[in-house]
């Protein structure tokens, strides 16, 4: 057993695994785009749903918090948070489904199983890119904030970390969903609670107000808090807080390594449970 537990053995396995993933990169891309097209192939609006879904979601909350409970938040604030959150929430559901819905691939072909959550995430990333584009268009109409080179650099730094964070989470749900299918029923509730715990539909000033004070100390422990705050500095010109960036980097690295590690260690057993 000494041979199989040595760091050299694990490093070799890791290098092999990553090179296999790289060799299969065309498959990952075709799978992601194939699912993306198939999902919208039968609807009249087709690919527009990628923009419409986050847009409609933001409009709903804008309506509720703009007209029913009026406040000073504008739609750009809502949308920036909503899009960032949507990408992560989707990777939780998608990770679980990626494994459960590709039974035929899993029982018939040999390939690194991480391809399935990866392809799902890539599909989400394309959608996320589209929503950020939408945000940029709306913002330039409103003349609110023109992103500078620094903002773009920040965006280029945070998106890969966000991707890694989501990959970790998606791998964990994919890992759990195989023996415990029930997880699929839980995820929407987890996402709902997480949405309300994150500064998306409530303003940051809430934390300083009397009502928010009891919750304030915990609010920043939420990785989504740090993530959205970094995105908002890049996208809508909120002040940049390097501490938030550092905090999220740690979250992404820890969850990414943990999630992928758990999944890869387990993947040989997946076929037994399908």
């Amino acid at each position: 057993m000494t041979q199989t537990s040595s760091p050299i053995y694990y490093t070799r396995r890791l290098v092999y695994y990553v090179s296999e993933l790289w060799r299969r990169r065309e498959f990952i891309w075709f799978l992601a785009m194939g699912n993306f097209k198939a999902r919208n192939a039968s609807t009249t609006l087709g690919l527009f749903w990628w923009v419409l879904n986050p847009l409609l979601l933001s409009l709903v909350y804008w309506f509720i918090f703009g007209f029913i409970f009026p406040s000073e938040r504008d739609i750009i604030y809502l949308m920036s948070g909503m899009f960032v959150f949507h990408f992560t929430a989707q990777s939780l559901t998608g990770g679980a489904n990626a494994v459960l819905q590709n039974r035929a691939l899993l029982t018939n072909l040999k390939f690194p199983r991480l391809i399935l959550p990866l392809a799902n995430l890539l599909e989400g990333l394309v959608g996320f890119g589209v929503s950020l584009g939408l945000l940029a268009v709306l913002q330039s109409i409103g003349n609110q904030h023109f992103p500078s080179a620094v903002d773009l650099a920040l965006l280029l730094a945070i998106v890969p970390l966000h991707f890694l964070f989501n990959l970790g989470l998606g791998s964990i749900t994919a890992r759990l969903a195989v023996p415990f299918r029930d997880i699929n029923n839980f995820i929407p509730y987890i996402n709902r609670v997480w949405l309300y715990l994150s500064p998306i539909i409530w303003p940051l000033t809430l934390l300083e107000s009397e009502r928010g004070q009891s919750f304030a100390p915990y609010a920043e422990a939420n990785p989504m808090f740090a993530l959205i705050s970094v995105y908002r500095s890049a996208l809508i010109g909120d002040p940049f807080d390097p501490r938030m960036f550092l905090e999220f980097t740690i979250w992404a690295l820890v969850l990414g390594v943990l999630g992928v590690g758990l999944f890869v260690r387990y993947e040989g057993k997946i076929a037994r449970h399908l």
């Binding site: 075709f30 691939l105 037994r272």
Partner: protein
């Protein structure tokens, strides 16, 4: 006929059926009884040479599909090993990796890439695959509009164009109409002539004795007989008719 192309050594696979049942709260929280195990493959060893067609027969649940999945590398055995030399293509199920909402053309790429081909290789063989599948203009229609014959032909065409060294087949010789069946048989003979290997699981005893050189009869996860295909099929038929006569 040099070194064998598939070597299976002391393969042992067991399943614990309780994990396949939905775990109820009571069962999860209750005392764990020693789980009953089902042995799907019980120390099976054999090898298949290059250029050989090897058939596997047996009743339902004898372990045939489990064996194929171990050889394909998608199921990790509890003991022993299955080694395959060369590029493997599996036809355990038709159309693996296909997405019905997409066009046939798109699915050729998906199926080929899923099986390990590079996009460039598929580009080069695209026309050949389409022609072989006899699909013509239908190739740009979504696959959900295809008849089952068209679907199977495309799937088979993709699998054969991988130019595998080893082909793992599960019961699908009956692809398409009579003329396409003749064509697919020819393609598989061609593969054998190129010193390829075919491992073929089937309930159709006729096609096993006609097509395979050697065969193996699995019964309850053990090898009941192995050897010349016609002899093994005859032995199996005897046992089936004896059982029926009881």
């Amino acid at each position: 006929m040099t070194k064998p192309s598939i070597v299976v050594e002391d393969l042992y696979v067991r399943f614990r059926p309780y994990v396949e049942r939905k775990p109820t709260l009571r069962r999860s929280l209750g005392r764990r009884r020693a789980p009953e195990e089902v042995v799907a493959l019980n120390h099976v060893s054999f090898s298949v040479d290059r250029g050989e067609a090897f058939g596997v027969i047996g009743r339902n649940g004898a372990g045939k599909s489990t064996l194929l999945r171990c050889v394909a590398g998608t199921l990790r055995p509890n003991g022993g090993k299955a080694v395959v030399h060369g590029k493997t293509s599996t036809l355990l199920q038709l159309g693996v990796g296909f997405i019905p909402e997409l066009t046939g053309r798109r699915n050729i790429y998906l199926g080929g890439l899923a099986a390990g081909m590079r996009k460039k290789e598929i580009d080069e063989r695209l026309d050949e695959i389409i022609e072989y599948a006899e699909l013509e203009d239908a190739i740009d229609r979504p696959m959900k509009t295809y008849s089952s014959g068209m679907f199977s032909r495309l799937a088979f065409s993709v699998a054969m164009n991988l130019e595998p060294d080893v082909l793992l087949l599960d019961e699908i010789l009956a692809v398409g109409d009579a003329s396409f069946q003749g064509k697919s048989m020819k393609a598989m003979r061609g593969l054998l002539d190129r010193a390829g290997t075919i491992l073929f699981v089937s309930h159709s005893l006729k096609s096993v004795s006609e097509f395979c050189d050697r065969a193996m009869w699995l019964d309850g996860g053990r090898i009941a007989a192995i050897g010349n295909a016609e002899d093994v099929v005859a032995q199996y038929e005897n046992s089936v008719s004896e059982r029926a006569g009881e």
